[in-house]
Every structure is written in structure tokens, then in C-alpha cells.
């Protein structure tokens, strides 16, 4: 299952009249099952875009449509991960990963009866991100990168139709980051959910995404849209091909323009 996400001419302002205009006339359309990446200068409204697409904020103007329905309340089946892992320190890593199951339907009503099955699933997911055996540890006993991986598991455990990633790999070292790129790539290939990834790392965007949206400086709107059609499954090696470098270069150009225009 996956869902399309459409923002149509969205303007968003924080703090009433005279407040900060974060987005202005922003339109983008992410197809069902597509892996979309959003890049843009800092403060241009990328996180705001995520909040609008999940119904955590409502646009001042324009409409947001997810799965064919206009968003008027928080969507109920999105998985989210942020730069900051925000694990709950009083829960073990496994219990943190399983938190969405206690909230989202239909798992919520099934959890009590099928607990063993869900635990197994969570442990499998932890294994995929290289955290086998760490489920019983508390998050503060894990390194930053390990917590980040656990938070990715938390975003995925309930098999969301829509995955929202707001710079989830920002604070990681280059090797861990590449490892997690592959994890996400494989999960996306296996499950086919829709992904919107916000990132500052252009290589990350080009490696993972089907389509990349470049945003202008604040108030943000979509400046350019670039389809990336490297065949899947992609190998990390494509990072070093000329074609890959060319796309990265092109995006860099767009970002430079966006920053200069600010």
C-alpha cells in the first residue's frame, strides 16, 4: 500500500497575520510509491512542507491532498523520522520501536493478542539496520548513530503507507549513512511505500530518489524538479559514475541560484 501526496499552491504562515511566511505558492505532487527528495537552502520551509503533508499543520492557503483526501486532520498512517532520534529514555529500544503499534490502528487493537508476533517483527527490523541484540538496551546506552537507526525502525514498524524523513541521516558519519541509504533503498523496494525525504546531502538525494524537488529560499516554493532515472536496484558504486556526478552538479547549480536569489 502506498499513497500519493499532492500540495496545490500552498502558502503557509506561522504566527497569524504579519507572521513568518514559510511557504508561498508551493506545489508538488508525489506519486504513489514514489521516492521523492526535497532539497533547498536552510530555513526555506522543508520541515514545514513535511508537517503540511502529514496534517500536523494546515495551510494558510491552498490544499494538501493525501491518498485522494484533502488533509484536515493529522494523517493516521505516516511514519516519521527526524534528524534528532527522540527516543523515550524510559523505554528499551525494542519498546521504543514498538511504540507506533500502541497507537496506530489496526495494530493497536491486535497488539495485546499478537504481541509475540510483533516483537519478532520488531527484532527482525532491528536486525535489518544492524541492531540485532540491542532491543533490550535503553536508548541512552546506544550511540547516536544506533539511536538514529532505531528511530528509523520506529518509523517503519507499522508498515506505513507514507514515510516522512526529515534529514534522518544528517548527524551520522559517512559510512553509517551509506549503510542506512541501502537499508532504506531495500525497504522501499520491498514494501513500495511513498517516501518524502528532506535532505541537505545532494548525493543522498540522487542516490535514493526517483524525483528531486529543489526549493527556493524562504518563502519556499518548488524551483526545479529533476527526475532521476538510474535503474534500480542502485548500487553504492553509481555514486562514482560520471552520470551521477552530473546530476549532483546540476542540483548544486539550482541550490546556488536559490541561495543567491535570497
Amino acid at each position: 500500500m502506498s499513497v500519493p501526496v499532492i500540495l496545490d499552491d500552498v502558502t503557509h504562515r506561522y504566527g497569524g497575520a504579519g507572521g513568518t511566511i514559510a511557504l508561498e505558492g508551493c506545489s508538488l505532487s508525489v506519486r504513489s510509491g514514489e521516492f521523492a527528495a526535497v532539497v533547498g537552502p536552510s530555513g526555506c520551509g522543508k520541515s514545514t512542507l513535511m508537517k503540511l503533508a502529514t496534517g500536523l499543520q494546515f495551510p494558510f492557503q491552498g490544499t494538501v491532498t493525501v491518498a485522494g483526501n484533502r488533509v484536515t486532520k493529522p494523517v493516521t498512517m505516516a511514519g516519521m523520522a527526524f534528524q534528532n532520534p527522540t527516543m523515550l529514555p524510559w523505554r528499551t529500544t525494542l519498546d521504543n520501536v514498538m511504540l507506533p503499534l500502541e497507537i496506530a490502528q489496526p495494530h493497536r487493537s491486535r497488539l495485546r493478542k499478537h504481541r509475540a508476533e510483533y516483537v519478532e517483527k520488531a527484532e527482525l527490523l532491528l536486525e535489518t539496520v544492524g541492531l540485532k541484540g540491542f532491543g533490550s538496551k535503553f536508548p541512552w546506552q546506544l550511540s547516536g548513530g544506533m539511536q538514529q537507526r532505531a528511530s528509523l525502525c520506529r518509523a517503519l514498524i507499522h508498515e506505513p503507507d507514507l514515510l516522512m524523513l526529515d534529514e534522518p541521516f544528517g548527524a551520522l558519519d559517512a559510512f553509517t549513512r551509506e549503510e542506512l541509504w541501502c537499508v532504506i533503498r531495500d525497504l522501499h523496494a520491498a514494501r513500495g511505500f511513498t517516501v518524502i525525504l528532506v535532505t541537505h546531502d545532494l548525493r543522498e538525494a540522487v542516490f535514493l530518489a526517483d524525483r528531486i524537488f529543489v526549493m527556493s529560499a524562504r518563502p519556499g516554493r518548488i524551483l526545479a524538479e529533476r527526475t532521476v532515472d538510474f535503474p534500480r536496484p542502485r548500487d553504492l558504486e553509481i555514486n562514482y559514475t560520471q552520470a551521477f556526478q552530473d546530476v549532483v552538479h546540476e542540483l548544486r547549480g539550482h541550490i546556488r541560484e536559490a541561495r543567491a536569489a535570497a
Binding site: 502529514t54 493529522p74 493516521t76 534528532n84 523515550l88 507499522h158
Partner: protein, 264 residues
């Protein structure tokens, strides 16, 4: 975490553990010596030994009044814990309630509680009830503030993660808010119990016919200065024990907060 058990290290004196005792004893010794050398009259500042003798002589009165004050304080404290927790949860629940109640509570808290005692006497008469209520009034505020702070400082990102899963306000409170507020709550108990003593003793000195506060006032008017000081010591000891108990409870209940370096 493991602490290395060193190879039969020579038995070192643990100065950190010992130092509270050393400092306390030193204080009393210096006090005794200074008072004796300077020849301070006992009706100004009695020596610790004189205070101890007075305590032994009036043991029965001290026991009875000490127990009275302790019970009064604990009753007020218990009310403060229950009431503070309830109001704290209410205040932390929504921004609107917070905005509405906060100025009221600040105003309420800035009224010196000793000024409230006459009104309480008017309503309940002289005795234990005004003291219990004073102890409650003075000690519930820190509980409210701490619980509300714990709830109000939920990471917005955590809230977003849950909301995007379809979480209701109650879910967020149960899964994140309340567990998160517990260390703040238990932390506030230490402050609250200390204040509860202040409250009950204030009321006892103004309007009661028992309790340490009342006993000290009576002793003072009879010029039994050592007994006045003995009363102080009773309060200090009760306060220290109650504080230590609350610190212990805090540590037991919220071990994760200490180990994870939460809220520091």
C-alpha cells in the same frame, strides 16, 4: 556499567561519605567551644549540651509535639501531592488552561501563607486543621509547576511522530507526557516536604495549642531558651529524615532519568 574492583587496595577512608558527619560534629564542637569561651549567656545562645539536656528533661513534651507536627506536615504534604499532581496534569494538559491558571497561581503563591492563617482560623478555629491546610497551601505549588513543566516540555518532534500515527491527546499524555513528568514530580517532593514543615510550623506558632511551633512559643515566653532550641533541632531532624526519604523515593522511582542524564 561495572566498577572495577581493584586488587586488594589498601583500605582507604571514604572522605566523601564521611564528610557530612565530620562537618556536622565540627559545627557542634565549635559552637560549644565558642559559647563557652565567650561566655555567651544561655538565654541568648545555649550550648549544644544544654540543648541536649533540655531535650532529655522535656522528652515527653518534645515527643508529643514532634509527633503532632510530623503528622500535620505529612497530612498537608499528602494533600499537596494529590492536589498538585491533579492540578499539574490539568495545567499541563492544554495551553489554554495553562494560560488561564498560571497568573492565578503565581498570584496565589506570592501571598505569604502566614497571612492566610488568620482566615483559616476564622473558618476552622484554632487547632490542627489550619496547620494542615497551611502546609498544603505552601507545598503544593512546586508540585504543580514541576508536573506541568514535565508535560509542557515534550519534544515537539515526539508529538509529531505520534500525531502522524493518529494519536489523540490522551495517548500522547499516557505514552509520553506522564512518564516524562514523573522525574519532575518526584523531584518536587523533596522541595514540597520541606515547605510543608514550614507551613505547619507557621500555623502552629500563630494558631494552635500543640505542635513544635506552639511548644517553642510557650518555651520562649517562659524563658526556657534551651527548649526553644531543642524544638529547632526536632524540626531539623524531622526535615532531614523526610527529605532523605523523598530523595530515596525519587531515586527508586526514576532511575532511568538519572542514568540517562535526562532533564539536566
Amino acid at each position: 556499567m561495572t566498577t572495577p574492583t581493584g586488587p586488594a587496595a589498601p583500605r582507604e577512608i571514604d572522605w566523601i561519605k564521611l564528610s557530612p558527619w565530620i562537618y556536622t560534629i565540627a559545627l557542634f564542637v565549635i559552637w560549644e567551644v565558642v559559647v563557652r569561651i565567650l561566655g555567651v549567656p544561655p538565654y541568648v545562645l545555649p550550648t549544644p549540651t544544654a540543648i541536649l539536656l533540655a531535650a532529655i528533661e522535656f522528652w515527653e513534651a518534645i515527643w508529643k509535639n514532634g509527633l503532632q507536627t510530623l503528622m500535620t506536615t505529612l497530612a498537608g504534604f499528602a494533600l499537596a501531592v494529590v492536589g498538585g499532581l491533579a492540578i499539574g496534569l490539568l495545567v499541563g494538559w492544554s495551553r489554554a488552561i495553562y494560560a488561564g491558571l498560571y497568573p492565578l497561581m503565581i498570584g496565589f503563591n506570592s501571598v505569604p501563607k502566614v497571612a492566610v492563617v488568620p482566615i483559616l482560623v476564622l473558618w476552622f478555629g484554632i487547632g490542627t486543621v489550619p496547620a494542615i491546610i497551611t502546609a498544603f497551601l505552601i507545598s503544593f505549588f512546586p508540585v504543580v509547576v514541576n508536573v506541568a513543566t514535565g508535560l509542557a516540555t515534550i519534544e515537539p518532534e515526539m508529538e509529531d511522530v505520534l500525531k502522524a500515527l493518529g494519536a489523540k491527546k490522551l495517548d500522547i499524555m499516557l505514552k509520553v507526557g506522564i512518564p516524562r513528568a514523573l522525574p519532575y514530580f518526584f523531584g518536587s517532593l523533596k522541595v514540597a516536604i520541606t515547605l510543608a514543615f514550614v507551613g505547619s510550623v507557621i500555623a502552629e506558632t500563630v494558631a494552635a495549642n500543640s505542635g513544635v511551633g506552639h511548644m517553642m512559643l510557650t518555651a520562649q515566653s517562659n524563658f526556657q531558651v534551651p527548649l526553644v532550641f531543642a524544638g529547632l533541632f526536632v524540626l531539623a531532624i524531622e526535615g532531614i529524615v523526610a527529605y532523605a526519604l523523598m530523595a530515596w523515593v525519587e531515586k527508586r522511582m526514576t532511575g532511568w532519568a538519572h542514568r540517562s542524564g535526562f532533564a539536566q
